[in-house]
């Protein structure tokens, strides 16, 4: 049709009117004011409304203020009332605006039409979605197989609301991604300090000396934004020193006073040598150690006698003289000194023991809980079990659903589900001590080969979920993924995709998400979730200012399209399923729920909404919580009688220790079973025996010991360690839709030291093929020969890298993620010569880095090539152990 003219439009219009086209109505009284609309919309602070809320762009959850004008969120600022951020903000917060108004955002419930993964979808109504889903879920509950419903989340900050749903349904399968992230570093902390302290809170504002093993708070770290400004302030204002051991010049390493490149997996060796040095120099704090550590100092002295700085230099590459000097400086700064470690030290086969060595340093110098030291803050959950007294008791007000019945033993245990397990698994569990049999809920929730993944609490081993489903360890009927990117971001993501694609293994997959991605692409139904700017949440986390606080996530705007918060989705689904589930979801709207949740706050609901944060600033800081005397209320019903219990005896209530006698008085101690710090812990050999891990493996040692990553032993000259890292503008693979973030970082070259490149005969920009091998040691598919996976990518040189290490970031290289994530562009782009109108202006044609536009492209997906490699006992993914070879393409 080439002659469509105004005349034909007029004809068509007349015909439509004559044919009875129902006109869409616009209010007549305002119809002449159209001109004014031309000037609306520009952000005007005098008109815009500021509302505090909590960011959800990463794991930090910072207090922010959103500026809303004309019903649209226009800008995000920091909330100065947030005692963690103190008003600071990172670039990712603006990603929430990007995501909310992202033109490819999922706004409607969708149902697959073609084959799974084919990409054919249609819109359905919420009622259609709930009806179909409830009809699939209800029989599982009615037939006594609720465990066949599996809920698997990527990031869940509802503070128990999703667990409320899975409990009400009766399934133990509320799976997470903790093992992908941090279980290797949480386990040592919980072993040392108790279940409540899975994360520390260093007093960085007052510290004088920090030793950092592979942590990167200036760029990407849980709590990083809270730590960075305090750390910088301490350095600039008080002359504090930051020493970093890293394999590359990260943002934190680059800003450190001293930075040492270490061979991956050898952080522990440096820490052991520091323990050795401090003991040799007599700089340990004997008083603190003897008061709070659970083994004699001489036992440690004996265990580290061979870990000299000279030995550590050979292992790690860090000069012995520096190790010695830093150890002495650190100890002399005590108690205003602290360690810091994260994935850099922990995500290795030997990471758990490396972190235990690092944790030992703090105990050794007696900085635990001291000003400027390694502090442990009040419980984040505000349940009142440990921390400061007198905090409001904030609890989810919905009628509680009881926990599912354990499978291994206990009253009314789920024997039916247990008997369906492979015999080998049943035998292993039957040989477990009762404490674990009582906590056993099947292989997905509590994998029997990794008892320390669920000994303290259910961290689970997320990367094994798909292989276990494939092996038949758990029948799945309905699988709900919630903001999960396993199909992209898990190791051997191709194995996850293979299972997700198989309708025999996963008959029905419903994905709840904001944006389209590799995971949602393999669903049967997609439910659109509200963004953090559109929903409510309870918020609490540890405060680096060491005074407890709580905050409120509240909606700035109504959910776009037909999206709903996860709370609303689960509540409405529960009512559709019925059968008693609805009794646990009594609130008609989220604001009523959260208003009751916070009803014990001493300020009004409106005032809390206005501030977004509540804190009693005048409270004492969380220093030495373990020295606090037990209160009368805490002593009630215990075995305590003044003067009757010996020094060091436990104060017990109902057979459980609640305190310890120190200086003749009952004090709280640490929330461990023996109320002291467990530098020595029999749980490790106990778990090793239970799963058949040889006691000669370093992971089985009750006291931290050095042991080398098995596949790094005698590493051939032509093999390298392949490692990954995070950029400051991205959040794993989840930020792929945020265009401004992708404009900054959209590719992931293979970083290597120039000398490494020279040895390999490659120069910057050359393409190389990285081939990764399976690990050895006591792990999944250990020792299988041959290349496990490979990818091709271009090289960039970076001085400061360890010469045996090559690294890529892992955020990019999406292949089912929309235009920005996939770095696509349209055929009408200038590069194609068809149009010059859209250059760098809009989403469709503004992906200037797309290859079609002559750009560098959107990076390479690397996770298919990285083997599933759970650490023994704990199951944390050993991301940084991969051995690879490199060839120029």
């Amino acid at each position: 049709m080439s002659d469509l003219t105004r005349r034909s439009i007029l004809k068509l219009g007349s015909a439509l009117i004559a044919g009875g086209l129902s006109p869409l109505r616009v209010s007549a009284q305002n119809a002449t004011s159209g001109k004014t609309f031309g000037v609306l919309g520009r952000l005007d602070y005098s008109k815009a409304k500021a509302t505090p809320t909590i960011c959800f762009a990463c794991t930090n959850h910072c207090g922010v203020i959103g500026w809303v004008q004309d019903g649209v969120v226009r800008k995000i600022d920091g909330n100065p009332l947030d005692p963690n951020t103190e008003g600071n903000l990172c670039s990712k917060a603006q990603g929430m605006i990007s995501y909310t108004y992202y033109p490819e955002r999922i706004l409607y419930p969708l149902r697959r039409v073609g084959k799974r993964g084919e990409g054919k979808w249609k819109r359905i109504t919420w009622d259609e979605a709930y009806t179909e889903l409830a009809d699939k879920m209800r029989p599982l509950r009615e037939n006594g197989t609720p465990e066949e419903f599996v809920f698997h989340y990527g990031r869940d900050k509802t503070k128990g609301y999703t667990k409320h749903f899975t409990n009400a349904f009766g399934t133990p399968h509320r799976l997470n991604r903790r093992s992908i992230c941090s279980s290797n570093r949480r386990a040592p902390l919980m072993s040392f300090y108790g279940r409540e302290f899975e994360w520390e809170t260093q007093d960085l504002a007052n510290t004088k000396y920090v030793i950092n093993w592979g942590g990167n708070p200036f760029e990407a770290y849980q709590g990083g934004l809270f730590m960075a400004h305090r750390l910088q302030s301490a350095r600039v204002d008080h002359g504090a020193k930051l020493v970093t051991f890293e394999v590359r010049p990260s943002a934190t390493a680059s800003k450190s006073d001293e930075f040492y490149t270490v061979m991956p997996g050898t952080d522990g060796a440096v820490a052991f040598a520091m323990i050795h040095t401090i003991l040799k120099e007599g700089l340990e704090n004997k008083e603190f150690w003897n008061r709070w550590a659970n083994i004699p100092l001489d036992d440690v002295r004996e265990s580290v006698k061979d870990y000299t700085p000279e030995w550590a230099e050979k292992v790690s590459g860090v000069p012995a003289a520096d190790i010695k000097r830093i150890a002495i400086e650190f100890a002399k700064a005590a108690p205003a000194c602290c360690t810091m470690s994260n994935r850099g030290s922990a995500k290795h086969y030997n990471g758990m023991q490396a972190d235990r060595a690092i944790r030992t340093l703090d105990v050794l110098v007696g900085n635990v809980g001291k000003p400027g030291g390694y502090c442990l803050s009040s419980l984040r959950g505000w349940s009142g079990k440990y921390g400061q007294e007198g905090l409001p008791n904030l609890k989810m007000p919905e009628p509680k659903a009881s926990d599912p019945k354990p499978w291994g033993m206990g009253e009314g245990f789920n024997e039916t589900a247990f008997k369906k397990l492979p015999k080998e698994v049943q035998d292993r569990v039957n040989n477990f001590p009762d404490k674990w049999r009582k906590k056993y809920f099947g292989e997905l929730a509590t994998p029997s080969e990794y008892p320390l993944a669920w000994h303290w609490y259910q961290m689970r081993v997320g990367q094994l979920v798909y292989p276990y489903i494939k092996e038949g360890r758990q029948k799945v009927s309905v699988y709900m993924s919630f903001t999960l990117g396993a199909a992209f971001g898990y190791p051997e993501a191709n194995a996850a995709r293979e299972v997700l694609l198989d309708e025999k293994l996963i008959p029905f997959h419903v994905a709840v998400d904001i944006g389209y991605g590799e995971q949602t692409a393999l669903a049967d139904m997609i439910l659109p979730e509200a963004t953090s700017l559109e929903r409510w949440d309870y918020h609490s986390t540890n405060n680096y200012g060491l005074v407890p606080y709580t905050g409120l996530r509240q909606p700035l705007i109504a959910p776009q399209g037909e999206s709903k918060s996860i709370q609303v989705i689960l509540r409405e689904l529960a009512h559709k399923i019925g059968g008693g589930m609805e009794k646990h979801f009594t609130y008609k709207d989220d604001e009523s729920l959260y208003k009751d949740w916070y009803k014990e706050l001493p300020i009004s609901w409106e005032e809390f909404k206005r501030r977004g944060i509540w804190q009693e600033k005048d409270r004492p800081k969380d220093y030495e919580l373990y020295e606090r005397p037990l209160t009368e209320a805490e002593l009630a019903g215990t075995n305590f009688e003044a003067g009757k219990l010996a020094e060091g005896a436990l104060v017990e209530k109902d057979g459980k220790a609640v305190g310890i006698i120190k200086d003749g008085k009952p004090v709280r101690g640490f929330p461990t079973p023996n109320r002291v710090i467990n530098v020595y812990d029999e749980i490790f050999p106990e778990a090793a025996k239970a799963v058949g891990l040889p006691l000669t493996d370093g992971n089985a040692s009750p006291l931290a010991v050095w042991h080398e990553v098995p596949e790094h032993v005698d590493l051939p000259e032509d093999r390298f360690i392949f490692s990954t890292f995070k950029w400051n503008v991205h959040t794993q693979g989840r930020s792929g839709h945020w265009k401004y973030a992708a404009e900054i970082i959209h590719t992931n070259p293979v970083f290597m030291h120039p000398d490494t490149g020279k040895a390999l005969g490659v120069t910057e920009g050359d393409e190389v093929e990285v081939s990764v091998y399976r690990p050895t040691g006591f792990t999944y598919r250990s020792g299988e020969k041959g290349v496990m996976g490979s990818f091709k990518n271009h090289v960039r040189f970076l001085k400061g890298m360890h010469p045996r290490v090559v690294m890529c970031s892992h955020h990019v290289g999406h292949f089912e993620h929309g235009i920005v994530g996939e770095s696509k562009t349209t055929e009408t782009s200038p590069a194609e010569g068809k149009s010059d109108k859209l250059a760098d202006k809009g989403l469709k044609d503004g992906v200037w880095w797309a290859r079609k536009r002559g750009g560098i492209g959107g990076g390479v997906h690397i996770n298919d090539a990285l083997p599933i490699n759970p650490a023994p006992l704990i199951g944390g993914q050993n991301w940084y152990d991969n051995v690879c070879s490199i060839e120029k393409v």
């Binding site: 007349s14 439509l16 109505r25 609306l40 033109p103 249609k122 809009g842």
Partner: protein, 167 residues
Amino acid sequence: MTPEAAVAQLAASLLAHEIDASLLASLQQPETAAILRQIEPSVAPLLEKEWTPQEFEDAAVEFCRLFILNPVAPARAAAYEEKDSLEVAGRIQFMLDSGFLELPERFKTLAPDHVALLLLVYSSLEGDDSIQFKSDNLGWLPDFSELLEEKSRHGLYLLAAKILKVV
């Protein structure tokens, strides 16, 4: 309602939601269908018969592919006028919040910078207001219609693309 407004509203309806029996019936009115066939000949067979449920579903799948999930022709200002799209959304949201727009049910959950909402407002304005509104908010329409024409596999969306070129 003026003929121009009726055409803009037809385009709005085609882009706001899947083709349903009601919309199809209005397109199949004999006089209307004759003109539509002239504009886009490939719609002829679609306008001459009752649709089967499968045909409605096929059209719904195409609608989803074009506009909803990983859309190949996103129908929102943010995809084309990234820098100004929040202002466009703000203008429309203001109209919604102030009661200027009374939306049909199936328009109520569209994003505020959706082309269907913009066309709806545009259809209600006259003279300078209309010109100003188009200039402020619909500068991306030609690029959208070009993309839609290129990507559409269904006659009625090809038709929508062509209508948009002269709206």
